[in-house]
Amino acid sequence: MALGDFLLRFENVGKEFYGNRVLKNVSFNLEKGKIIGLVGENGAGKSTMMKILFGMNDIIETGGYEGKIYLDGAEINFQNPMDALNAGIGMVHQEFSLIPGFTSTENIMLNRELLNESIISKILGKKLSTLDRPQMRKNAEDAINTLGVKIPPDMLVSEMPVGHKQFLEIAREIDRKQVKLLVLDEPTAVLTESEAEILISAMRKLAERGISIIFISHRLQEIIDVCDSIIVLRDGEIVKDTPSKDVTIIQIAEWMVGRGMGGEKQKRAKSADNDDDIIMEIQNLWVDMPGEYVHDVSLKVRRGEILGIGGLAGQGKLGFPNGIMGLFPAGGKVVYNGKDLPLNIPKKSLDAGIAFVSEDRRGVGLLLDEPIYWNIAFASMQVHNKYLKRIFGGLLLRQEKEMRESAKQYMKQLEIRCTSENQKVKELSGGNQQKICLAKAFDLEPELLFVSEPTRGIDIGAKSLVLEALKKYNKENKTTIVMISSELEELRSICDRIAIVSEGKISGILDAAELSTNFGLLMANIKLDERKVDCNG
């Protein structure tokens, strides 16, 4: 087919970030008026693909991309999102871009308001023309009606339920007269079932009008229902490009995670085979962590095991440890070593012997302006009164020398590359910063250790060192480890069992050696039948 028949065409698009390859040889076509589903795990490359399409800053500043992209027959290479918008590409994100004190109409028409020209505006500039509110209202109503929802055009966004806001985002994109392509990133995540149905039919209507849609979602049933074709990304490459007719969910899940069989992996000498010795039991936990809400998680953690928690981004796996450690509001019941653990008070969790390596290294995990030895020693100083000497029978004085000695030991053990224990942490690489976070947690000598995204954003060498250190710590100190990670393979390499969190709940727990496909299904929130599932809690 000739180039002009397609609305959008990717040709061998690739992207490398400082030596890390995230996208390779991505090629596909999208015709006018067709809906294509884009499926993949975290880190598979979906967001990078969209960022490239949209001309986002972090793509351009890191050397651009390889390959070519064609829109409506012409090659494009957007240098900023405004250019993409003006060329007719609209993008609806998961984080709403709405002004709370403005009405539906004002938000839909934001910065594209219809103006009344006047003498003043002719002399002093277009910006001083008054708004043509009646016409704006009509445009907004049209856009909203196209979607088939009922949203009052004069309603303030601050008073709207979440579902309305999602539709408003889409209405804004389709109001642009020149919109040709719409990218929807997990639009049904915040919608109720009925709202999701409305959205699906709205998508069909838009496609009938000739607008092409890229639909990114983890809800595989929706993908099958509404898309004309489906692309599955895995590890930065397209592993499947197929029309959606006759495709099953299980097939998609398989493509998503690959055909990794159990048994290939070296079977770990399991430390705990059953539920006889439970170190922590969680019942109906909810956590209000923006972007990673946990709705109802129940789980039993076996003493001495390495338990993995996986799942797609935004599904709640990160909210889980943050809630237990009191960093975000949480509720429910947590029993630790037979005793009730009070929630929302970090000190209680720490005193009980639980430690946490946060996924937010720079935000929560480190004191960037302070030296290495401070970062490592601080928590255990405050929690266990380590590195303190009592004088005058009351005051506790910091013992710098001991702090330094301790830091030096960890520096050696974890191979932290730095000039000395005095170096400010902000000067270190990501990998070394992560090792310091680990050292801080180890120094607390915890009984139960939560580690969240331990290898995110660090180089290969540091990755394996961190994982080895965790394995070793678990073996030597009998510390129970709960590891939260987006990378399924990583979890399978060191965990005994893996629980998958989907839409704020545990969708299943499997032995780490299970088929990858099954994990993929759990991530897509498909319940596995009893035969295959080793679920508890």
Partner: protein
């Protein structure tokens, strides 16, 4: 029943400042023993004198920059212009309009500077504009004490403007030619003082203020006004939509500073004397207190707030010293009280604003989590 309680509580929380203020004023007014007509006259005069300055605060609030505590910057432009105009001996209304025209470019310059500085201090606009106001006082004094008469030629045949050493402006300048130029404009035109029920109305000043109100209402309906409203609520979303946030903020500061310049000129022509070195320190405070007493908040202010607030605030200001004297036997207590009330009004509003902002963030978070 419980819902009614929260409604009452919310109403109190939002309006506690005005309520307390009205309470205190209500007690003080009868004790001051001023006559009703005297009070009305005072309020009318001060509305004519000061509401323009309070109006100057509106745009930065709309643009999300909070109270422009650097209002003094505009006042400095106005004063410098007025000194020059007085030295050129341009009389009456012509002199005033000339001063306004002259102050505008200076205000634009200072406003751009203020806007650029505040853009580098996002999230800390109010304290920064506060400090900037004092910094500019230094520059203004430098210009007026050293440059005027030396580098800036001042025509001063009668030694009314400059100090005896030949440069540096005097502490107080009598504005013989421009005093009351606006206030009495229609009076002079018609040949008879304009008063209703014994209360004199500075009609022309009110006309000018009315024009500004009209312009403000019109501005809100324009695209630029819409952009300013947008950035005032969420800079990130506005930027994503393609609005030039930084530029819009600078424009808000330029307009505010220019209006402050005009407002200061109106104020000075009413008083009739220019106090070269005094009075600018509390300028922003009184304007802010007036606006806040009128029901405005740090991120929402409208024209009714300006007039209600100015009237109420100045009413309190007038009655306190005499009331305190009659109740407690000391006028000095009254003076300190009104200063105390002014500061407390602003402080309380700032605290409420911060507290509400934190509470709104909580609420937002809760709505997002309850969906599933």
């Amino acid at each position: 029943m419980a819902k009614n309680k929260t409604i009452i509580r919310d109403f109190l929380a939002k309006n506690i400042v005005i309520i307390l203020f009205l309470l205190i004023s209500g007690i003080a007014i009868p004790y001051s023993q001023y006559s009703g007509q005297h009070l009305v006259q005072e309020v009318v005069t001060r509305l004519g004198r000061d509401s323009f300055l309070v109006l100057a605060l509106l745009l930065p609030v709309m643009a999300g920059m909070g109270i422009n505590f650097g209002l003094a910057l505009g006042a400095f432009s106005g004063q410098i212009a007025l000194i020059l105009v007085t030295s050129w001996q341009v009389p009456g209304v012509a002199g005033m309009f000339l001063a306004m025209a002259l102050s505008a470019p200076i205000s634009i310059l200072l406003g751009s500077l203020a806007g650029a500085i505040l853009n580098r201090a996002k999230g800390r606009e109010m304290i920064t504009s506060f400090v900037l106001g004092f910094f500019m006082t230094g520059i203004y004094q430098f210009v007026v004490i050293i440059c005027m008469g030396s580098i800036i030629p001042i025509h001063d045949p009668n030694n009314l403007l400059l100090l005896s050493k030949g440069f540096g402006v005097r502490n107080a300048i009598q504005l013989t030619q421009t005093k009351g130029a606006f206030d009495m404009f229609f009076d002079k035109l018609l040949g008879v003082p304009i008063s209703i029920g014994g209360v004199h109305f500075p009609l022309f000043s009110f006309v000018i203020i009315g024009v500004l109100c009209g312009l403000t209402v019109w501005f809100r309906k324009t695209k630029m006004g819409q952009e300013m409203r947008a950035i005032g609520q969420d800079m990130g979303v506005s930027a994503t939509a393609g609005i030039n946030v930084d530029k819009t903020r600078i424009i808000a500061m330029i307009v505010s500073t220019t209006l402050a310049g005009f407002g200061q000129l109106i104020s000075i022509q009413n008083i009739g004397t220019l106090s070269t070195y005094a009075g600018t320190d509390s300028l922003a405070l009184y304007a802010a207190a007036a606006l806040l007493v009128g029901g405005a908040t740090v991120n929402k202010a409208s024209i009714p707030n300006v007039f209600i607030g100015t009237a109420l605030f100045h009413l309190m200001f007038i009655v306190m010293p005499l009331a305190a004297n009659n109740i407690l036997g000391s006028a000095v207590i009254g003076e300190y009280s009104r200063t105390f009330i002014s500061y407390t009004v602003v402080a309380a509003s700032l605290v409420l604003h911060a507290w509400n902002r934190n509470r709104d963030k909580e609420r937002e978070r809760l709505t997002m989590s309850n969906h599933g």
